[in-house]
């Protein structure tokens, strides 16, 4: 490894460290929020929000994922915790996929840069695809 490679490695390690460091407040907040929800929210509440009807739950999950935003890792941690609370895998998958593909928060910037019609259609189609992705993924995993 020559000195240029060593510099690049040092820079890569530093950038990864900065990226994780910058995510710390959100990650710490998310973990604390999950702890609070576990302690305060009775499990029966999830049962009331999610009905056990796969299609309806998937829609609810995709809708919730679309309006929330943030680092993908937050959605993975939340989804994993939802699953342990008994929320269906369809709903959790749709939630996770919509979180990372539908960008309600970024919509103004996206539409300014790439066009309003493109951004609108992309977000709507991403919402529909999140539902389709959830149904296909859970069905295929169930068959394997």
């Amino acid at each position: 490894m020559n000195s240029s490679d060593r510099e690049r490695l040092k820079d890569s390690l530093a950038r990864a460290g900065r990226s994780l460091y910058n995510s710390l407040p959100v990650l710490a907040g998310t973990i604390l929020l999950i702890g609070l929800a576990n302690a305060v929210v009775p499990k029966s509440v999830y049962g009331r929000i999610f009905t056990k009807f796969a299609i309806l739950d998937t829609l609810t999950g995709a809708f919730a994922g679309s309006i929330l935003a943030g680092n993908p890792i937050t959605s993975y941690i939340l989804s994993g915790e939802f699953l342990s609370q008994g929320v269906s895998l369809y709903a959790v998958t749709a939630f996770m996929v919509a979180w990372v593909t539908v960008g309600v928060v970024q919509y103004p910037a996206e539409s300014m840069m790439l066009g309003k019609r493109f951004s609108t259609l992309r977000n709507i189609s991403s919402f529909v695809l999140a539902i389709i992705t959830a149904i296909i993924t859970v069905s295929v995993v169930g068959m394997l």
């Binding site: 604390l32 929020l33 999950i34 302690a39 998958t93 189609s125 992705t133 295929v140």
Partner: protein
């Protein structure tokens, strides 16, 4: 005097701490149970952060944003789809940082289909796969990743049609 630079994520953490303060005021036992539960969640996932750090550093070392931009701008046909998928997966940083570049690509003649595919694949983050594997298992993670990549191409093809029909 210069105002302290507090990011939105820091405000989020402060808001959560404030929620804990309210909970503690309502019932100290409840706040303690919440903290214990958080600690359990943290212990369960702590080692994954080390993995994420190493994978992110590896990506930073081997893949540069410049190389993604270069290939996405110059490739064509099936190769461009592959580059669009790979570019979306390995692109780092906030999404809005990529909008100016994508707009330039569009001006340079790259279709909306490829841009849609690129944006969809930003959802597939290889350094974060350990977290999904931890919660959902390897089988689910592999199927979800493949389905998402396929859906990104479906979305790309739909947008190509939209563009050809003059809908964009």
């Amino acid at each position: 005097m210069k105002k302290p630079d507090i990011s939105i994520s820091a405000y989020f953490l402060i808001a959560v701490i404030a929620l804990y303060a309210v909970t503690a005021a309502a019932g100290p036992g409840l706040a303690v149970r919440a903290l214990e539960s958080s600690y359990t969640v943290f212990l369960r996932i702590a080692y994954i952060f080390v993995l994420i750090y190493l994978l992110t550093a590896g990506f930073n070392y081997f893949v540069s944003p410049e190389s993604v931009k270069k290939h996405l701008g110059t490739s064509s046909g099936a190769k461009r789809w592959a580059i669009s998928i790979a570019g979306g997966i390995i692109s780092t940083g906030p999404i809005y940082m990529w909008y100016p570049f994508l707009r330039e690509l569009k001006k340079g003649g790259v279709g909306y289909g490829f841009i849609a595919t690129f944006l969809y694949n930003r959802a597939v983050k290889i350094p974060l796969l350990p977290v999904i594997i931890f919660y959902f298992g390897i089988k689910f993670t592999a199927v979800l990743t493949v389905v998402m990549i396929l859906m990104s191409v479906v979305q790309g093809i739909i947008f190509e049609k939209f563009e050809k029909e003059g809908m964009l």
